[in-house]
Subunit: 342 residues, 2 copies
């Protein structure tokens, strides 16, 4: 029975409400096979608003020593856009070199999609997590004057693209053996061309995997008109952000979408979180759906090698949705219901 150290960052709003449910599921699913030591980190908008702290170096160092991170949700409308994103969320992804941002999109049976004919949606977006427009390069001159110029620089490396591409092809080998590169290579000719060459090269190592290419604008169309065509979507940081939210919508809401920020070389801990936010509008009412947070524990377990336990959580979630998905339940009730199925 192995012991794992888990950093828990419940964050703000509903993040605080869903995280305990996720932890309870994690415990139950691994009874007898693993033990978890949790270290809670009080980080997020509330902390920032109370004492100005975003992410102390000591916390980051401590987090680096954990085996994995469970994150609830971070954000509050009172905090200016960018402060917590750049200072906490992206800081963690970059400092821990979480270069794989893994985002499965699956339409669970019993969930109502906004699409009239959704078909069998089950794809995974492999989003690059440490480069592109997210790197924070750029600046502004003559701020707040009619002559202001603001730039954002997307930095992309062969190294960065190759390791994500290889991950995507490896993943495709365990799935339907199809990778779709999404970019905008007809306009972003430097980065897009590099991505395409990287993919063509990596693809040679995986002769069984088919691969094709879509411009990001065309991809947003197919996610609405024919989402079941996708198996593994490989894309950059920004396009991945956009596509996974759209995909979250077509699979019935981001309430069912979990994600992993993965350092696949295991130098640093990986981080698992629902893709939804802190939902200030419903925070404090105890009615947030903890399903995405619970699904992110399944991803965490899969990452640690507990595939069987992860499967059981997925199955429990699927059974819960099918039987009770349409009933009005509190956060805790949903957590308990899923727990009872394990």
């Amino acid at each position: 029975k192995k012991t794992y150290n888990i950093a828990v960052i419940p964050g703000d709003g509903i993040g605080k409400e869903i995280t305990p449910e996720a932890q309870a599921v994690l415990e139950k699913a691994t009874e007898g096979v693993a033990e978890f030591n949790y270290t809670d980190f009080d980080l997020g908008a509330e902390r920032y608003l109370s004492d100005g702290t975003i992410l102390p170096d000591e916390d980051l160092e401590l987090i680096k020593k954990q085996d994995a991170i469970l994150l609830g949700a971070v954000g509050d409308p009172r905090v200016k856009a960018g402060i917590l994103e750049r200072g906490l969320l992206l800081k963690l992804r970059f400092a821990l070199d979480q270069y794989i941002n893994l985002r499965p999109s699956k339409l669970y049976k019993g969930v109502t999609s906004p699409l009239a004919n959704p078909g069998d949606i089950d794809f995974v977006v492999v989003r690059e997590g440490t480069e592109g427009l997210y790197c924070g390069a750029g600046g502004a001159v003559r701020r707040n004057t009619p002559n202001e110029v603001a730039t954002e620089v997307s930095i992309n490396t062969w190294f960065g693209a190759e390791r994500v591409a290889r991950y995507a092809f490896q993943l495709a080998m365990k799935r339907k053996k199809h990778v779709t590169l999404v970019h905008k290579k007809n306009v972003l000719t430097n980065a897009g061309d590099m991505w395409q060459r990287v993919v063509d090269k990596v693809a040679q190592e995986f002769p069984e995997v088919e691969h094709d290419y879509l411009h990001v604008d065309a991809a947003t169309i197919f996610i609405v008109t024919d989402p079941s065509r996708f198996d593994v979507i490989l894309t950059d940081n920004l396009f991945g952000d956009i596509l996974t939210d759209e995909a979250g919508a077509v699979v019935g809401g981001v309430g069912y979408s979990a994600s992993g920020n993965i350092n696949a070389s295991n130098e640093y801990p990986s981080m698992f979180e629902p893709i939804h936010g802190s939902a200030p509008d419903i925070a404090g009412k105890g009615i947030a759906n903890p399903t995405a947070a619970i699904l992110s524990t399944a991803m965490l377990l899969r990452h640690l090698g507990f595939d069987e336990q992860a499967e059981r959580i997925d199955a429990a979630v699927q059974a819960d949705i099918l039987e009770k998905g349409s009933t009005q339940r509190t956060t805790h009730e949903v957590g308990q219901d899923i727990l009872a199925r394990l």
Copy 2:
């Protein structure tokens, strides 16, 4: 009775098939009130493949002297991505300073949306057309080596954002008086922050217009889950590209979506085109739907001040869809049917 000089660029594939139908509608709708002199420009993939020509300077100079441009569609899989986009399409938008990329998304009665409950979709995306990641800045070092680095630079100016923002608010005054700025200001803090400040400033000139803000990822969700919430979406070049294709999908396919690349100061001609491409898969069969091309003539007429004639085209299209939208017709039959209603 005024005379207008129109540059016609039918382009490739179905572009060549739909453009004559659009011209016929333009003629008929303006009988007795305007006359059009057409100059055809043989530009696009076919021309490029035959003699290497993309956009000769003489052509560009001639085009600059026209009153407007009608474009069909450009592209062919045999031409490497980026060549015609950067050399022809974007070259025209940039050289003619077409800073407003206007893209209405309307669910016509009788069109089947892929959404189960689409509601009453009728919004306009005002996309910036001459800046952002489309400016072609960026480069690469150590190409084709494991040490390759490729960059793309998004250049954004107050000047550029302000003129589009003002256009969006003016447009909102004629509509439901609501502008939604879409950006990713929590990550792209330089450009996003500038856009937000520009919008807040311009909004002061339009006290009757409400305005709000959405991150681009959230916007892709609402386009699927609640598209009728939007009136005018104001956004940058890349986000506008992405959102309008997604929007095209929810209103039943890009076959019903026209667009205008507008130089609102009228120093140079504006360009009108369907948002769909050259569709090599169905080219040559005479079965492409010319509706989007026909709708782009309505946008052209509105731009030249013929609002009443533009309305008549819109109404004819709506009537045609309602009565015959679901029947199998050739390109020419659809053109004739719409013509007959004018």
